[in-house]
Amino acid sequence: MDGEPFIQLHGITKRFPGVTANDHVDLTVRVGEIHAIVGENGAGKSTLMRVLYGLYQPDTGSISVRGRTVVIDGPRAALELGIGMVHQHFMLIPVFTVAENVILGSEPVAGLGRLKLREARARVAKLCAQYGFALDPAAKVGALSVGEQQRVEIIKVLFRGAELLILDEPTAVLVPQEVEELFSNLRRLREQGKTIIFISHKLDEVLDISDRITVLRRGRVVGTVDAAATTKPQLAEMMVGRPVLLELEHPEVTPGAVRLEARALTVGAGGGGRRQAVRHVHLAVRSGEIYGIAGVEGNGQTELVEALVGLRPIVMGQLLVEGQDVTQQSARAIRLMGVAHIPEDRHRRGLALPMTVWENMILGHHYRDDFVNGPLVDRPAVDRFVAEHVREYDIRVADTDAPALALSGGNQQKVIVAREFSFAPRVLVAAQPTRGLDIGATEFVQRQLLAARSNGMAVLLVSAWLEEVLSLADRIGVMYGGELVGEFRRGEVTAAELGLYMTGTKRRDVIPVVPV
């Protein structure tokens, strides 16, 4: 493993208004290794990679590639040096074919700028064969699975002759089986002499795939270690700067009555078509219970959640809250019955970012009698409520008149959690509640969910993060293709087993729970 250095960073510093994202970072990546970079959200991983890929210019420091000092002033320059980036959020155009996506920006052309599409397809096919990727160059990208789209991203980079591949959180969107396939692809790339930088915060995966690991914390390098010579707790401590508890306590709670129930729920996919996004789903969530829903994103979870909180019309079936039929009720009516909702996309559904913090904190409660005085908003009452909750949930905000977009992601999520937990909800529907949060904020949210469960709330937790579902839920349902393809009790099932259900390889009938 003592290859010559491919790339060396010396004292890279990158500052943004009010924050130093990278602080004198030194890093050496050797030819032919898989080098992981780990750190919490906000540790500076993404910034560092953007510097490396030419999207940002460092304020100080230098970069050398194969021993030569270089200036990387854009993605093009990076590619010319053999550096390619596989982005976390796929940079793919759904209406284009695989080949069109791959060639964009470096198209083979004849006279008049005519695309040589046949040649492009042939070259893509050849690359796929070389690295063992199963892909059809003529397929539309929008029709591919997440794993396949990721392969297109990798092929895109290889097509441009990259020798060093940067993969930014590549496993975040994959199911266990797809992760395995990605890892075998990466190992094959390494065999053929490619160098890989693997960015992640999932320590098990990092230990599995990488040769060496560099840990970042708050913009600084904490250290670089050999994967073979370290352990998960050690890495976690390096990342967070203190020993961390990797397991949450999950106290025994006796579930009570069914609070939220779906009977043969069928929901349309929207867009005016007849396609159904959710088909015939039965589920029941009881007081004092967390019901987890696992599944690859895009298998109907979003639509299921929206239907449960009244944001999407129910085509067939019934929805009951505490035994009352609310199938035809509006979102407001369902809310007023005590159903709280932490939306999966806090920027789209959760917050009105340009509005002030105080306005966001009463969003969805603003029509309660507590906050209105005739037709007017009762500011004194609102201010009291906001001040109390800012204190209780430790929301770091200088001025509640500032727009919500000025808050950090963790604080934004706290605003939502504080809001949704107020007025004693009976049911909580939480979708991806910890997405994009750092370890501290994640722990906070997860503890809140468990506390709610202890207090007798009925919690429906939808998460694409399998470990979260496994560690928090009392029961787990798996969604695939819009259907509930399996339901398990806590401890009854492993992650690998769930993966089989999540990909549609296995299924078993879900027996509707008889309401107590």
Binding site: R242, A331, N411, D438
Partner: protein, 377 residues
């Protein structure tokens, strides 16, 4: 920070107006005139004479309604470009109620005419907003098409259906006279008490007061009421508003209808306040000016008053430069358009500057709670 923001917020429109003047100066130079002299004439003519001051107020009155109408739709991110057509229809409805009913007392007849105008405006907005909400048809194109149709319809109604029989044999194409009971009272007698007189004083009517009142009421309602809160939420993020149980379609519909109702009143300054009938040469284009007024005012009802006054001033000034400086009044029209382009750019730059400042401030305060707390024992 707050003080600096306020200065910037005032500076943005001032700079945009200065930029508009700069471009106009270049145009005036290009036609061989001295811009300073032209602007001097404009200011002296518009502000140096009492008749001009009253004329500016008269010209600003419909612009207040027009700007307010457009602003109300912009507030929920809908582009009601159909204000133009809506006020044609509103003007006709008011005139119709005015000339077809007789013998009603003013306390009944005038409000009836105003309501008819608002109903006419709303009627003309119903199809575009319904198509927008139900079918996703872009309201900009549909409302513009409705403008053309309104124009044709009004022409037909005035020329072929309700043409004043008393005008038969003359080239005048107009409706019969509106009953006196439906006319808007002039403010002339009031100002007469202070020694002001003349036709420009007589033209000024109570609709100015109605417009100002409407602006103040709506400013208060949007800032302080629950409905105003919901409007802000829908504008800021309709999907989040929906998740919060706000019927955003209903809010959008309501604001669009409010916009159209106000639009219906635009033409009345001339129809019920001055002429007393509707003819085919009634003032047109006020709806489009309303877009400019709303943009300049940043959709703030109180800002609408100032922006309308500015445009009234420019309009009066244009008459002055045309008459006294022999510079085409279109120069001022171009200046208005340039001001609008400059103002939207200035506001955009200001918004992104504020966003960056806010981020800087927020991140300057101790963020990353857990880690920061651990690091500082």
């Amino acid at each position: 920070m707050k003080g600096r923001l306020l200065i910037l917020q005032i500076a943005a429109p001032v700079l945009a107006i200065a930029f508009g003047m700069l471009i106009s100066s270049i145009i005036i130079l290009a036609i061989g005139r001295n811009p300073l002299e032209v602007f001097g004439i404009m200011v002296r003519f518009s502000l140096g004479r009492t008749d001009s001051l009253f004329s500016i107020l008269f010209k600003s009155t419909p612009l207040i309604f027009a700007g307010l109408a457009v602003a109300m739709s912009f507030r929920v991110n809908l582009f009601n470009i159909g204000v133009e057509g809506q006020y044609y229809i509103g003007a006709f409805c008011a005139a119709f109620v005015g000339f077809s009913l007789r013998g009603l007392p003013p306390i009944v007849h005038l409000p009836l005419a105003l309501l008819a105008a608002m109903a006419g405006g709303m009627l003309w907005a119903l199809l575009p907003i319904a198509l927008k909400i139900r079918r996703g048809a872009h309201e900009v194109i549909t409302t513009i098409m409705m403008n053309y149709i309104a124009s044709a319809l009004i022409l037909y109604l005035i020329a072929d259906v309700f043409r004043d029989p008393a005008q038969a044999g003359t080239p005048r194409v107009r409706t019969p006279d509106v009953a006196l009971a439906a006319r808007v009272p002039s403010l002339g007698p009031f100002f007469g008490n202070f020694g002001f007189a003349g036709s420009d004083v007589q033209k000024l009517n109570a609709l100015l007061l109605l417009g100002l009142t409407l602006c103040i009421i709506l400013a208060y309602a949007l800032a302080r009421t629950r409905f105003g809160y919901e409007v802000r939420a829908v504008a800021a993020n309709p999907t989040a508003a929906e998740a919060a149980g706000i019927a955003n379609r209903r809010v959008e519909f309501g604001m669009f209808m409010l916009s159209a109702a106000i639009a219906g009143l635009i033409g009345l300054n001339d129809i019920l306040g001055f002429f007393g009938y509707l003819d085919i040469d009634f003032p047109k284009g006020l709806g489009f000016l309303g877009i400019s007024v709303a943009l300049l005012a940043k959709n703030n009802p109180l800002g609408v008053i100032l922006a309308a006054l500015l445009f009234g001033f420019l309009d009066r000034g244009a008459q002055g430069v045309q008459f006294f400086a022999r510079v085409p009044k279109e120069t001022i029209v171009i200046m208005q358009a340039i001001i609008i382009l400059a103002i939207v750019v200035a506001y955009e730059l200001l918004t992104s500057y504020i966003r960056i400042q806010r981020k800087r401030e927020a991140e300057g305060t101790p963020a990353m709670p857990a880690a920061a707390a651990e690091a500082a024992p």
